[in-house]
Amino acid sequence: MRGNQADIAVTAAVAALACAAAAAGAPVAVTIVLGLALLAMPGYLLAQLLLGPGTAGLERTLAAVGLALIVPIVGGLVLYAAGVPLHRASWLAVLAGVTLAADLALWLRRRTGWSAPFRWPRARRRLPPRHVAMFGAAMVIAACGVVVARVGAAIQPGPHFTQLWLSSQGVGAGAIKIGVTNDQGSTVDYRLVVLRSGDASTTRNLTIANGATWQVTVPFNEKSGNLTANLYRLPNLSTPYRQVDTNGDKASGL
């Protein structure tokens, strides 16, 4: 082996680690770091393979970023054409596969002297500490801006509401589902009154926690007549708070 091959070793190791982390079900914090590195590495290696030593730093970096973004596009199309589903394993295989193949190609080219060995980039001049501190402070302040925006979005007064619905999804023929979801911001007491052709057939008192859904399946077919569900928000029993109604609909399309 001629010269320094540190970049080849690091990229190969990261590709292997990213695959291992995915296989082992590593925490998201770990997969985020390894995943971002894995996305970037094929671009770096392809730029090393395609561009000569005369290409300047910024140009090489931008080419590497562009190539890194191109690899999943071409890889995804190739997988799709081959009939392979685009799930986690296939994306890992594409990115790790390209990384390792590019590692091998780069290693071979360096062995034959076609490519220059890896060199750590040298800073042409060192930034004075006060400038480093100011750049750091800028990043912290900008991050605070994003936090302020996220907090603002979290505390923004939003609508409080209750959803009442009818659905035939997931129930067999001759039945229909009635559901209530509470998004009022606190636990709420309701009364659900189900009427068939105008006559009350079922009455239930419900206590539903904020964010929770309650549902029931009731018999319903073409001969059942009209089905109405009135939801009252207790203690008000004079006016339905929410209402759904088949209104002569045969419910075949619900």
Partner: protein, 620 residues
């Protein structure tokens, strides 16, 4: 003449150092981002229409833009790395401002469309799955592929992965522009100012950094053009081979990612060919025309074999534009002016910017002709910048031309920014030779720079004021009837998610503007246009019922808040809504579905009710 001589003293390392270090510029810009975020929070807490909240927003923007502009336009020493850092500061700060607008999820309609396409890939593992909201999007899956890959390998949400992908793509594109300009003009000063002017395009801070396919395609376009530049300049066969591979890959990625950007790539390469022929550079012309040929073949093959629906997607837009121009040239005026008119201040800002750039371009052309006549790419930029005047004509004379002009601004501002930058540098340098300035250069020279900085701030303010989001929701805030981003809240999202879970995908829906994108994305439904008739009368007539049957409408979503306020965007409904409302819709027009036999009321969340009209007796 050397580049430094032509382009002023700032490229010359003998100029004095600035008293405003780049690190301080970064700090000030960060404070600007924080102040804008505070203004957004004030908007969310109910002060969206408060004058002081709006002023706070603009103060934040001044802090982001003015110091960067001052350093780029200043005649103090500024090296290439500082120029790049300033452009990174401007781009990242404006991107963070965009992130702060929607910090917890996508709310822009176009972003929701691509969110849907990405979710389809993640849920099915397949490309090209139908997306009712933007049917063309699955056939150009570049952005969605990269995002789906990142989501899959990291475990991030689509929102977070999307922000990372488009953030990197946007910054890369801006820096590629800088590099291209820098290599054309051999001056980082001209290049920095050119990118500063480019950043004033109305979509720079919004559409060009959104989670939409164009954002990523622009990066590939920039890379392909940079590669074309190198192909004509590089000496060794090995380097040429590398750049040729990059050019081909970037061209293919552009074609696969966004149709319009791929046409623009071909047009750009053709203009470069023309410029090269003018400058008598055969090598440059040969490479540019060869790549244009390859790009044309690639997008033609893609359309024929993968995305034939592109033709029907693009045809109405082209037909409408051609008809408008025909009308314009036949009668001297078009059939109507732009429908959207903003506040007087925004319009005045827009007029001043249009005037200023229109005046700067001839100055830039003259400078380019005198000093860069032999440089093919400068000639290409000069030719390309003529499109500025076409853009202005479209904006002024074509019906709804503001929308069309806005969309093309992303591309038109590239050559325009470069030529205008030549003019700005020329004018600021020349003005220092004026006797009135020379008499007291120490005091008066900074005034020249100050005027230039004020001009740059005005350009960018015009882009922000007349770009996106529109003026009525510049600050995020509470729900607005038939608005855009401000019509996206938990009520709409929950009803859409309920539809996805309980109705199955791709049902034809009638709905208003506010629910349209949410229902199509979170709900995976097929909301359609031209449904105003369903909501604007107290009864449903037999012809109405027949039209609904013809449109195969299965569900109608009714938002009773349409009866409480006029539409913020001017229209309540997608498609053929004529607008011009003088009062909100009567509630009876919206609740009439309760009384129609065979129309089931299947969902009720208070303000939003969904009706099933699939069993309606269409025969009457």
């Amino acid at each position: 003449m050397s580049a430094s001589g032509r382009n002023g003293r700032a490229d010359n390392m003998t100029a004095a150092r600035s008293r405003l270090p780049v690190s301080v510029v970064a700090l000030i810009a960060a404070v600007g981002v924080l102040i804008v975020a505070a203004a957004y929070t004030a908007g969310r807490l109910g002060y969206a229409s408060s004058p002081w909240a709006n002023r706070t927003y603009w103060v934040g923007q001044v802090l982001v833009i003015a110091p960067v502009g001052a350093r780029l336009l200043s005649r103090r020493r500024l090296d290439a790395s500082e120029t790049v850092t300033l452009l990174v500061i401007l781009t990242v700060a404006e991107y963070l401002v965009k992130v702060c607008y929607s910090p917890t999820g996508f709310t822009f309609g176009d972003e929701l469309m691509h969110w849907r396409s990405t979710m389809n890939i993640l849920q099915t593992g397949e490309l090209f799955r139908p997306n009712d909201l933007l049917p063309i999007s699955p056939f150009y899956p570049g952005l969605e592929e990269v995002t789906a890959a990142l989501v899959s390998i990291t475990g991030l949400s689509v929102f977070m992965a999307g922000l990372i992908v488009v953030g990197i793509a946007h910054l890369t594109y801006v820096l590629l522009l800088y590099l291209i300009f820098q290599q054309i003009a051999s001056s980082h000063r001209v290049s920095g100012v050119a990118v500063l002017i480019y950043a004033s395009n109305p979509l720079f801070q919004s559409f060009d950094s959104m989670f939409v396919y164009q954002t990523l395609a622009l990066t590939f376009l920039g890379l392909a053009v940079l590669a074309a530049k190198h192909l004509a300049a590089w000496k060794t066969a090995r380097d040429r081979g590398g750049w040729l591979a990059i050019a081909l890959l970037a061209t293919f990625a552009t074609v696969v990612t966004h149709n319009v950007t791929s046409y623009v790539l071909v047009a750009a390469l053709e203009v470069i060919t023309l410029g090269s022929l003018l400058a008598r550079s055969r090598l440059s012309a040969a490479w540019a025309s060869l790549l244009a040929l390859v790009a044309s073949a690639a997008f033609t093959a893609w359309i024929v074999f993968v995305a034939p629906s592109t033709v029907s997607y693009i045809q109405p837009v082209l037909t409408s534009a051609v008809q408008a121009f025909k009308g314009l040239f036949a009668s001297g005026h078009s059939s109507g002016m732009s429908a959207t008119v903003g506040p007087l201040g925004d319009e005045a800002l827009s007029a001043a910017t249009v005037l200023a750039i229109s005046v700067l371009l001839p100055v830039g052309w003259r400078h380019a002709w005198r000093h860069y006549r032999q440089q093919p790419w400068v000639m290409a930029m000069a030719i390309g910048s003529v499109t500025w005047y076409i853009l202005v004509a479209v904006r002024l004379f074509v019906p709804d031309g503001t929308e069309l002009a806005g969309r093309t601004a992303t591309f038109v501002y590239v050559p325009t920014g470069f030529i205008a930058a030549l003019a700005v540098i020329r004018l600021t340098d020349n003005s220092l030779r004026w006797p009135v300035i020379r008499a007291n250069a120490r005091r008066r020279a900074p005034l020249v720079v100050a005027v230039a900085v004020m001009g740059a701030v005005m350009f960018i303010f015009d882009g922000l004021a007349n770009g996106w989001p529109p003026y009525w929701e510049r600050l995020p805030g509470p729900y607005q009837v038939a608005g855009d981003e401000q019509s996206v809240d938990s009520l709409e999202i929950d009803s859409a998610q309920w539809a996805a879970a309980n109705l199955g995908p791709h049902n034809t829906f009638a709905t208003d503007n506010g629910d349209f994108a949410v229902l199509g994305s979170y709900g995976d439904q097929n909301p359609i246009g031209n449904i105003t008739y369903l909501y604007t009368s107290p009864t449903l007539t037999a012809p109405d019922i027949q039209q609904a049957a013809d449109q195969q409408i299965r569900f109608v979503l009714v938002d009773s808040r349409l009866s409480q306020a006029l539409p913020a965007s001017g229209t309540y409904f997608p498609g053929n809504d004529p607008g011009n409302y003088t009062r909100p819709l009567p509630l009876a027009d919206l609740t009439k579905f309760d009384h129609i036999p065979d129309v089931a009321r299947i969902y009720d969340s208070g303000d939003i009710v969904i009706y099933h009209v699939g069993e309606i007796d269409y025969a009457g």
